[in-house]
Symmetry: C2
Subunit: 673 residues, 2 copies
């Protein structure tokens, strides 16, 4: 370093990089990134995942950018060159396809492409017939540096090219031909030292899941209600007889409420009454009695062998079992005696039941996840999940996860999915958005949603816009249930059969994962005032507290309609993903018009749904043709996949009429006219 | 820990928190946050800065949230309690007001409010007339824990309250009165241990700047052109005579191109010609000759004493000096001999001049910021800024920062602003958005923008929407120049005087910082084809290469108009900030209608600008009344602050007519009718 004539103030900060190279490359906005990369983005194994990054440097030199990725348990990184998709925005892109479910890491590296930068200028000088002697010498020096870094077998060719370039210094065009040679370029690309390479650190994460994480039709049923004798509980073996019926409706997932022994102390009676009758079976969510707890099968349903048989029979019907896990205990749960330290205690030492003052839930003891003995509790819960995985359960519907610590779920879910990457979790968290989003970020595959309460055009449009924002889709996979044992929407009570069909079409076409709770196909909507929420209703004779025996082929059922909708979902890839949704205007507030398209617009569906089950609606559409890949001039066909009808349309404005007593919705496929 | 009966698999992950407390509090989305908090958000010293955060926990317990902040050189944190602004979104908010310019750190802490959570339930039980003996005992235990943490003087009161609560266990209402007592609550708030407190780490940063960082009208002029004898260069002393004229126009900042000695070798002649005549003064950006370099004053302009006098005279006229710093050298710069290692060299050892092949700029030697001797170069540059700060310069306009390493600027700017928090930097980076944004994030106060090339309604609307996005305003402060010595917009060439007035109104009302380059007030628009950009023009007889002497009161000048606009800017706080902008529709693509309001809508300005300098436009407005704090029914007055005219309007639709030959714009203040 040259001696300084004019000393600077001694407190000037040290120069960055010290005596090493000065960093030039800036890497920003790597996507997908959840919480700035601290959480994994959800993708599907076997599907290409696009990664983008803003990468640039000062000055005019050219840069190269690569994506590095690996499964978290691999040690070696794979390299994927990124291409500059938008030079004006310095946007670079590459795709990776995680081969199997699991957690993957990825990051981006950029470096200055000294050779290409030199070649750019060299070419311009040759084309302008300027002398290039000095520049040829610079280029030869670059080639020599590359040769020094090359493998033995290629070193000679690079060194020879450098020598030749020097000898051609007076012959610009010949020199240019030499340095633009494709074989030479590929050696340069392979060996050019990445002297100023900058790699983004820490790496970001992708959680690659299996298809069912994104797409599936769910059917919820109580096995004990699948019998044929009124008031008599069915066993799992008897419940197997329902499976073909569910298969015919086209469902993918069969979701069972808890199947464990049910508490006797303070058991709830019919319609949530505080006194159970002698024959009342109790709520499956009041878990545990002398026969066992979360790791047992209710003897009334059968044995573990029966459970295994049921899982296997369901599989033969194309149905995967989802099991409910509710981390709470009845007063009769074996843990109450064996591990009183896992519960909340009063000052007098007695165990606390659940309360939401002034309401008391004496049939339920909540678990204390903060207890000094929490490690043994958490590990026991981990073991219970393992038990059910061993018995063929690969989807868990988790009851009220938002009332347990997030750090518990993060610990549990990451441990389970590391060992069992195929296992999926549905969070039943009807709570405020930050908690719902965080549960999704820390490992829940899917989440229940507010769909059940979104009825108007504005409500549905704004909620779906929120769910389909790119940043949101990176971590939040909605599951649209049209009803649950706890939720009987008022629109079904008031709107009847047309409302049931309308809500089914909405759920099944707006969200790739959706579900119904059994009885929906029979348009069951007998309501009583809600026990806790003013002005709301709940199911009369709820299956939570009694055995229900139904005629599954009762008149007025919509089983064929459901089967057709599920068939359309399987046949049309646009309905298998959450993305590709666009809303279209109409003249009527009662009509919801929206489309789902695959990215290549090879599959285009257009839904027009009459949200009002009480009246016929006529209107003109105002289609956003561009989003459908359509032009103003060309006619196109709309083929109603529900009724089979077909019309030729043209332009944005087309007539629709929907009579809810006939069909409340058009489910059009757009086809060539 | 109880002995485990059923051993879990040995490879289950360790429980988080180990034997310590289980974390419950989640802190997310703290704002303002630039690049996730890694870069400081820009705010103003003395102005309240709102901080928001999403903070929540599992379950139903109550939480407390505090904001902690300090100047980066302070050690102790200040605490500001946050209030829950939106419980449905778990959104917490507090304000801090950085007292003086500088860098500040802040973070958010949350903890469970055990007392308030207990009190919530206790109150409900008392109100429901339930027995509360056990609960009173729990509350007393909480009070005892708080007493143990309290200062000696308050411990007794808390312990006494605990004892009293136990004694009132059978008298719910008396107990409730005791535990709701305000004095007791304030002791609880003060001493309650924050057992499960979670603090966001690392802290985030705010850069608090002085008013001029956000708001100012800039005037650019060449001091040497301020003389009265054609062809004769003015000295700084002579140039002082222009200052009152600039003051009368209402400017805040006087920006001078480089004032250093100018190179002789390869000096450019008039209109950018390669051969300079013997009297041609050369470009001020070809810096350095035998008289000195970046730390010298051109002898033709005067001495450092003259410079100091000029700075002081400007200050008396309310003008702050902004100096241009261009980090490049003429071949005659002293560094070329003293520090050849700071430049790029050819293989033959000669120093490289600037090139953009095939174009050559032989009058300029670029500096090599990557040279192995870069530390001495960087420190010398740091010293040069210090020299000019010592001579009263507190604003620097930095030439082409995007061609130097970002890490250099980050190092330089942070070192200077730490020592001189009042110093501001304007980045002249006409380049791609990622680089412009990053320069703003790493320390440049303001940036030149694309405003000069945005003319149509769509262009202006979309560009301003981008600039006024909240995340963007956190770091990017635009400065809207209507022209520069390098940029003569075609609309000024073609549109003449009406276009000059129109563009001035746009710049001065859309952006709180804006500027003109001298000659604009005379509507100078004589153009020649651009030397490098096809289909573009540049100034004929550019001052960059020759001395210009003008009649500053020439007929047709718009000095009074400029003075009035700058006066309006000072009188109306809505124009002093970038925020508060809303666009309003009209029937004509030629009209840009927009409003600027203070957050409290006490000051509301409505601009209607005819973007077409060639024709009269008549149209109806379609005001977004809600954004203006107006209702459909109430009439309101629009008071044109340019002409003094006043109309009474009502509702969204109102008639406007703008003749560009008279006034191209309405600059209305909305007032009571």
């Amino acid at each position: 370093m040259s001696p300084k004539k004019k000393p600077t103030a001694p407190d000037v900060a040290a120069v960055p990089g010290g005596s090493g190279p000065c960093p030039h490359i800036v890497i920003q906005d790597i996507r997908p990134a959840v919480d700035g990369g601290r959480r994994p983005a959800k993708r599907l194994a076997g599907e290409p995942c696009q990664v983008t990054a803003t990468v640039f440097r000062d000055g005019h030199a050219r840069i190269c950018v690569s994506l590095f990725w690996r499964h978290e348990e691999e040690r070696a990184w794979r390299e994927e060159p990124m291409r500059c998709q938008n030079p004006g925005l310095d946007l670079w892109v590459a795709e990776i396809t995680p081969p199997v479910p699991g957690h993957y890491l990825f990051t981006v590296e950029g470096w200055t492409d000294a050779y290409a930068s030199w070649l750019d200028d060299f070419r311009k000088r040759v084309e302008a017939k300027q002398p290039v002697k000095s520049e040829a010498s610079e280029g030869a020096a670059i080639l020599e540096r590359i040769a020094a870094a090359a493998a033995q077998k290629d070193r000679g060719r690079l060194a020879a090219a450098a020598q030749k370039l020097r000898s051609l210094a007076q012959q610009g065009e010949a020199a240019l031909k030499l340095v633009e040679d494709e074989k030479l370029r590929s050696l340069v690309d392979r060996y050019q030292p990445r002297e100023d390479a900058v790699r983004h650190d820490p790496p970001l994460a992708i959680s690659a899941e299996r298809e069912r994480a994104a797409f599936g039709a769910w059917y919820e049923m109580f096995p004990r209600s699948q019998g044929t004798v009124p008031g008599k509980a069915a066993t799992l073996r008897e419940a197997e007889r329902r499976l073909p019926d569910i298969q015919r409706m086209g469902f993918d997932v069969l979701y069972l409420p808890p199947v464990h022994p049910i508490g006797i102390t303070h058991r709830k009676g019919r319609d949530n009454s505080l006194q159970a009758g002698p024959d009342d079976p109790g709520s499956p969510w009041a878990i545990g009695n002398a026969s066992g707890g979360h790791d047992a099968v209710d003897p009334g349903l059968g044995t573990f062998a029966d459970f295994d048989h049921f899982v296997s029979a369901a599989k033969k019907c194309g149905l995967e079992i989802a099991l409910d896990i509710a981390l709470q205990c009845s007063p009769d749960h074996p843990w109450v005696k064996e591990h009183p330290e896992w519960f909340y205690r009063r000052p007098d030492g007695s165990i606390k039941y659940a309360e939401n003052p002034p309401k008391k839930y004496e049939d339920i003891y909540p678990l204390n996840f903060d207890s000094p003995q929490r490690e043994s509790l958490w590990r026991e819960i981990r073991r219970i999940f393992e038990v059910w995985i061993t018995h063929g359960v690969s989807i868990f519907r988790v009851d009220n996860p938002h009332t347990k610590p997030l750090c518990f779920w993060e610990w549990l879910l990451s441990d389970i999915t590391r060992a069992h990457p195929e296992v999926l979790f549905l969070a039943e968290a009807f709570t405020r958005p930050p908690m719902m989003h965080t549960l999704a970020k820390i490992g829940f595959t899917q989440s229940y949603t507010y769909f059940t309460w979104r009825n108007s055009r504005w409500e549905l449009t704004s909620y779906l816009r929120e769910l389909t924002e790119p940043g949101m889709m990176d971590f939040f996979r909605p599951n649209f249930f049209v009803n649950t044992p706890d939720i009987l929407p008022l629109i079904l009570v008031k709107g009847g059969r047309p409302a049931f069909k309308m809500r089914l079409v909405l759920a099944a076409t707006l969200s790739p994962s959706y579900g119904i709770y059994s009885g929906f196909e029979l348009c069951e909507n007998q309501a009583i005032p809600h026990h806790a929420i003013p002005d709301d209703v709940e199911y009369k004779s709820s299956e939570k507290y009694e055995i229900r025996v139904r005629d599954w082929d009762a008149p007025g059922n919509i089983k064929d309609f459901i089967a057709r909708i599920n068939e359309i979902r399987r046949e049309n890839p646009a309905l298998r993903r959450l993305s590709g949704l666009a809303f279209h205007d109409t003249q009527s507030e009662d009509l919801l018009c929206y489309s789902k398209c695959t990215p290549d617009v090879a599959n285009r569906l257009l839904m027009v749904v009459n949200l009002n089950p009480h009246r016929v609606v006529e209107s003109m559409t105002r289609l956003d043709l561009a989003s459908l890949g359509l032009s103003e001039a060309e006619p196109f066909a709309v083929h109603d996949l529900i009724t089979g009808q077909r019309w030729t349309w043209r332009g944005a404005q087309n007539y629709v009429r929907l009579d809810p007593q006939q069909e409340p919705a058009h489910l059009f496929r757009i086809e060539p006219a």
